[in-house]
Structures are given as C-alpha cells and as structure tokens.
C-alpha cells in the first residue's frame, strides 16, 4: 500500500518537477485556447452551411453532414497521427504550411491544433445546430417576410437567439477539448502528459502524472459547476414560460 502511495503521490517528485509539468500544462492551455476559438468558428460555419435553404444547395448540406458525421466518428488520436504523418509530405503545399512554425510554435503544436479543430468543429456544429433549431420557425419566417435574406435572417435574428440556448452543452464540448489536448503528446509536443511520462521514465515514479491530473481537475471543476448553473438558469426560463412561446 505504501508502495502504491509512493508511486503515485510522492510529493518530493511532484515538488521537484512541478516547474516542468506546469510549463507543459501551459502548453495544453495554449493548444486549447487556439483550438477552441477556431473550432467554435468552424462549428458555426458548418452549422450555417447545414441550414442553407433550397434544393440547389442540397449538395452543400449533404457534404456538410457527411463531414460532421465522419469526424465525429473517427478517433481524434488517429486524426492527429494522420495529420502529422501526412501533411509534411503534401508536396503541393508550401513548406511553411507542411511544417508550420507559426508564432514560434513547433509543428506538432499546429498539427495537434488542426486535428482538434477539425474534430471539435464537427462536434460544436451539432451544438450550434441544436441552438439554431430551437429557435421557433416563425422567427425565420418573420425575418424573411420583412425582406431579409436567409443570411441576414440567420445573422440578425436566428443565430443571436440560438446561441443563448447552448452555453451549457458548448462548455461541455470545451471541457472535453481541453482534456483531449493531452493526446497531442503522441506527436511529441511537450505538453503536460509527455513531460510527466518523461519524468516517469527518469524517476520510475508516476507522481508527475498525478500532478498533471490535479492541474486539469483544478481548471475543470469550476467549469463543471458553471455548466450546472447555466443549465439551472435555462431550466428556470423554460418553467417560467419562454418569452418566445405565447399562449
């Protein structure tokens, strides 16, 4: 038992390697921040493509749905490995895209960001869709009957209302994204899990992994409470009678 405790909760190991692991964790946060912004933008874009009207735009809707379904199905780890293993050899791309070192970040950073954006763009598109579809049809009709184009109606009427309905599920996606940044360790980005494993092989002790876990818990637990609050607030609105439905 004490052996187990020493293997995972050796405070000396934690203290001695705190700095490295913390720097690694900052790397996770950075990947998360960049990927989250881009994924939220891509998700909204995909959700809007999916809502395009008319028969002529059916192929676009179909392709969008295919994209969303596909990237929700494939494990992120595989996407990360494929991007980092494939993109460098796409010889038609310029060198700085194949092996990106933008803003002083190494190429694994950007491969990881790309994979996470591709996948979480698909997931967040579904969340946006839920929000958009929760806006009563009459809103779109009213906007269109006032002469707005489909795009204007989306931009000024439907999307602003739709996004107010989804902060809780979207925050859940973001929590999941934050945790999945650790997967980028497989392509040698020095983030917290990779650093911890290096410590593990050096000291033959897993306490650095425990430390990493603690970092994630400290960040994510408050977020989980925020989700609860948001859901409770939404529930309250529904029971009070949504301001859109009028009986």
């Amino acid at each position: 038992m004490s052996q187990f405790f020493n293997q995972y909760f050796n405070f000396d190991v934690m203290r001695e390697h705190f700095g490295e692991v913390f720097v690694g964790f900052l790397q996770n946060l950075l990947v998360f921040a960049v990927a989250a912004v881009l994924a939220l933008a891509l998700g909204l874009f995909l959700a809007l493509l999916r809502q395009l009207p008319g028969k002529k735009l059916m192929p676009i809707r179909f392709l969008t749905i295919a994209y969303i379904d596909f990237f929700r199905a494939v494990p992120i780890l595989i996407i990360i490995l494929m991007i980092s293993g494939g993109v460098p050899f796409l010889s038609f791309l310029p060198q700085e895209v194949r092996i990106p070192h933008w803003f002083g970040r190494p190429d694994p950073f950007w491969y990881g960001v790309a994979a996470l954006v591709i996948v979480y763009g698909a997931f967040s598109a579904e969340v946006y869709r839920a929000g958009i579809e929760a806006v009563p049809r009459g809103q779109m009709e009213a906007a269109r009957s006032l002469g707005m184009s489909h795009f204007q109606a989306m931009r000024y009427v439907v999307v602003p209302q739709g996004v107010t309905k989804i902060p809780a599920p979207m925050l859940n996606e973001l929590i999941s994204l934050l945790k999945d940044t650790t997967l980028v360790s497989v392509i040698a980005l020095s983030e917290s899990v990779l650093v911890s494993r290096e410590v593990l092989s050096e000291r033959l002790n897993s306490s650095s992994l425990t430390l990493t876990a603690i970092f994630f818990v400290i960040i994510i637990l408050p977020l989980a409470r925020v989700v609860d609050k948001l859901i409770a607030r939404q529930q309250l609105k529904v029971t009070r009678g949504s301001h859109i439905e009028v009986a």
Partner: protein, 254 residues
C-alpha cells in the same frame, strides 16, 4: 375597373400528397380589404403564405402589380431572387404568433428591416419607427423588450414592424386568434384604422363582426377552394352555398 393590385389565377399548393390549394382565383383591388373565412385546414393561411412566397405555389400565377411573382429565377426553391425582393418589399405580413424578435427592443424590432434591407440610416429608421409605434399607441414602450408586453401590444408592434417596410399590401394571418378576448379589440381597432387609410389588406380571420364592418369582400374557403365570395352583407347574411351556411351556423352558435 383598374388593374387589381393582386391577381391570383389557378393557384395550387401541395405538401407531398396533400393538396392544400386546388386552384384559387382572386382579384384584389387597390385599397380593398378582403376577409378570408373558413374552417381550419381549408387553406386560408397557406393562401396568404403563397402570396408572399413563404410557400411558393406549384401551379398558377400570382400577379402583384402586374408582375407574375411565381416566375423568375429561384422561384419554387425558397431562395433569394428578384421576385422575392420584389414581393417582400411590397407585401407585409402579420402572424398569429406575432413572431417578434425577443432579443431586440420594441423599437429595434421595427427598425431592423428598414436598416438592413432598405439601407436606411439609423436616425431615419428610428424616427420613422417611433412615429409608427406612436400611431399604434405604443410610443411609451420603445425601449421595452417584447416579453414585457401584453399579447395585444405585441401584435400591434408586429403590425408597426410590417408597416415600417412601407408595404402596398398587408397580409393578416389570424392575428387575433392567439389573444385573450379583452385584447382583441385593440388589434382590430389598429387594423380598422389602417383599412380606413386605404391600405390593401388580405385578412384571414374568425372575427365575423370585423369582416362585416371593415371587409369590402368576404371570401369563404373550404377544402382548398373558394366556395363563395362577395360583399360581407351577402356572404355573411344570405349565403348561397350550403357549406357557407353550415360554417357560419357553427361559428355563430358558439
């Protein structure tokens, strides 16, 4: 007689196998108020929605100020095209459920389309919107959000919002059906005033009193066709058709 503002010929609309409109002919002269009555499912609302192309008809023609709005690029696909712009800048619509934009104030509800669609300046749109809201008796509610208003007030905002686009024709789709009885009058009064000012109106309604008083013509629809049409005094008091008699009997017996 002058060329009608709106002229429908053989308008048909299907939803899958369900034929909702089976060839509607209707002429609407400038300044005329036409009240459309009929049991639910008779196609009244669909008819209005066809006129502003929310539901493009499959067959027939709809001439708006002489132009066939069912032809032209994009017709039948629900996409933006010249005839949609043409129609929606001339035809305003008010809905049963008001459909005000809940995230915008009363005034913003009214100014949004003139700013975004007609390209009016903010100042101009606000000035005009304020005047319209004062006209429907809501000058004090400009900064309120719709949820703070009663149903009757919301519906008057919806009317002002449609009027802000300076339509030539107004469509009213059962606009008092979702209202508490004591709120119906204020909305009907607003519509009455509008009719008095010479607005061309197509009104789907169950308010027989309003139809009798304000309507120039009453149209009775059933099963996707116009069963009977004429001045309110004739259709409402001496209906020729059995189906009209039956419907009016049911409505009056309430």
């Amino acid at each position: 007689m002058a060329e009608p503002v709106l002229k429908l010929r053989g308008v048909c609309k299907r939803f899958g196998a369900l034929e909702v409109l089976k060839g509607i002919d209707l002429d609407v002269a400038k300044g005329e108020v036409i009240c459309i009555l009929g049991p639910s499912g008779s196609g009244k609302s669909t008819l209005l929605r066809c006129v502003n192309l929310l539901e493009p008809p499959e067959e027939g023609e709809i001439l708006l100020e002489g132009k066939d709005i069912c032809k032209g690029p994009g017709s039948g696909t629900g996409e933006q095209s010249w005839n949609l712009d043409f129609v929606r800048q001339r035809v305003g619509m008010v809905f049963q459920q008001f459909n005000l934009f809940p995230h915008k104030t009363v005034l913003e509800n009214v100014t949004m389309a003139p700013e975004r669609v007609l390209g009016r300046s903010k100042g101009e749109a606000r000035e005009k919107g304020t005047a319209l809201l004062e006209r429907v008796g809501l000058g004090e509610k400009l900064a309120q959000y719709p949820e703070r208003l009663s149903g009757g007030q919301q519906q008057r905002v919806a009317i002002a919002r449609a009027l802000a686009m300076e339509p030539h024709v107004m469509l009213f789709d059962e606009v008092t059906s979702a209202l508490d009885p004591e709120l119906v009058k204020e909305v009907l009064d607003t519509m009455r005033e509008l009719a008095g000012e010479g607005m061309t109106m197509l009104v789907v309604t169950h308010e027989l009193g309003f139809a009798k008083e304000v309507g120039d013509q009453v149209v009775f629809m059933d099963g996707g066709v116009i069963v009977e049409q004429g001045p309110p005094a004739e259709v409402l008091e001496n209906p020729r058709e059995e189906r009209t008699k039956q419907f009016l009997g049911l409505v009056l017996d309430r």
